[in-house]
Amino acid sequence: MLLQSNMALGLKEQIQGISADIAWLAPEITLVITAVLLLIYDLIFKENKSVGLAAIAFVGMAFSLALLIAGWGNVEGDRMLMGGMLRLDGAAIYLRALFSIGGMIGLVMMLRCKQKEKFFKSSETLLLFFGLVLGTFLMTMSINFLMVYVAIELVSICSYVLTGLFKSKRNSEAAMKYLLFGAVASAVMIYGMSWLYGFTGTLDFTSTAFAEGISQVAILPLSLALIMTIGGFVFKLGAFPFHIWSPDVYEASPTPIVAIFSSLPKLAALAILFRFVANLDITIIDWQIWLGIIAIASMTVGNFSALWQKDVKRMLAYSSIAHAGFLLVGVLAFSESGSTSALFYGSIYLLMNFGAFFLVQLFENNEGKTSFDVFKGMGSKVPYLGVLLLIVMISLTGLPPMAGFNAKLYIFSSLWESWQTVDSSILIWVLIFGLLNTVVSLFFYLKIPYYMFFKTREEVENPVIGSLTDKILGTILVAPLLLLFFKSDWLLNVLNSINFAL
């Protein structure tokens, strides 16, 4: 009773504050409402709901995007939401905007997919899709272990179901593998979090109490707990020790879903990782060793296993593992430039990835499979799409004149910088390995152009690949890659106006 009565004191203000915060969460709320509307629409109508569902989905996503762009201007500095559960800053808004753009592209891909009724016949897929996007939104903002956990699990569970939703043997297998790995990872993460909570007495890992708390703990238990916790993030990032699920999942799931999987959760996890390590003193534990090892391992493992893949989606899966490694490089630079360049890399990566999957899907639509043979001799049949795909692949490799090169340049520049300041030899190894991996990656990225332009095949006279709409969409996706090479400062200036939690 006593407890409650003095709880009542600040309560009213607290409540009013929270109610005020809701305005800032308008995009998330939009997503939720959209999902609910989708479900209700699905429940009300019996037959041919595709059009309505698609319309609702697009409008909702577009609206949240609009809200974010509107909110871009009027966010002053940081802002704690929901009683310190969420932290709204420029990075969060930027990433969420990026994600909703990604969501839009994902929806477009679903529309352009051959068996689109798979997505729009009934509301489940879209519902889960929105849940996933919502989860990534929350991930970008959460600074509280509880929130992080809930957000990550929201994303994960939606992903599991999305993987297993479609009626095929491979789907179910992939879903199960995904789920088991994911569940183990999150269990490990939770256990680590519980220890950190014990050490510090707070769940808010950006608070000073947290930083002080862990500075008093013995090195061994602390590093154990931290590694466990970070393991969970790394799983969502799809980096080395927890990457095993991704190839199977990518191969089995429909392409639009894969495109989402491979970009949004990764970047969201990156954001969490940034916010998490930002508050940790490097002097306590040498982060750069651990993260560096993870980064090197992801890049190397990803690239080398990508070499002998026969399926394009599988290959892209491994490449995404490698890219996770590159993103980690930005983290272990532990500098403002590191975070900026990582954001830059992430944005470019998102574009490249969606471009790649979109174009691959066009070919998949034609033949129903994604093995490399699909591309045989297509260079002469559909030269335009061929060139687009070539651009994307070069950009993924990270060669000029594509934005992928700038991304690599900046991220490794920041690494170099922090190496100059910190001078721990792991960094230079990361630098060397990372750049040499570019050479390795050339092998499999060039495989597609190789099959398209060098190989020839007779049986297909004039395949129906890519309507004019597809060509236009593809151009819209690919053009930024060229543009941002020549004027990368446009994006960078935007990113500079963001202050990350560093």
Binding site: Q4, A8, L9, L11, K12, I18, L39
Partner: protein, 155 residues
Amino acid sequence: MIEPNLTEFGTVLIFILGAITFVSVGLIAASIIRPKKPNYEKLTTYESGEETIGTAWGQFNIKFYIVAIIFLLFEVEIIYLFPWAVIFGDQELIQGTDYTWAWFAITEMFIFIFILALGLAYAWRKGYLDWVKPVNRVSDFKSPIPAEAYQKYKD
């Protein structure tokens, strides 16, 4: 309380242990006085006199699993209802914040329950709730009661 030397949970423990001891004591007592003359016939599985074929451990109607899953979700939601239920109407809090608290809490929970109900509606609409109905075969037996008399008891 009557037993000051026990915490409340101690009492609960006593009940549990007591129940266990009671059963085991009973079993022991019974095992002393009861006969034990097993033979094959006795130990066969009872199937109304039929010879049992195979084991009973097999797959079940999928509906059982679905019910289990739906139950799981609802039960878990109820976890949140209990803590909320004991605090949302607290006199001090409500008067301390002149009803802001009450309305806030109630709105939150209404949204929560609304989404929960939406889930139920989904399961309902998609037909996960209707159990497989037995097909009724019209027997050739001529009973004095007209067939339609049964009709209102079926389904």
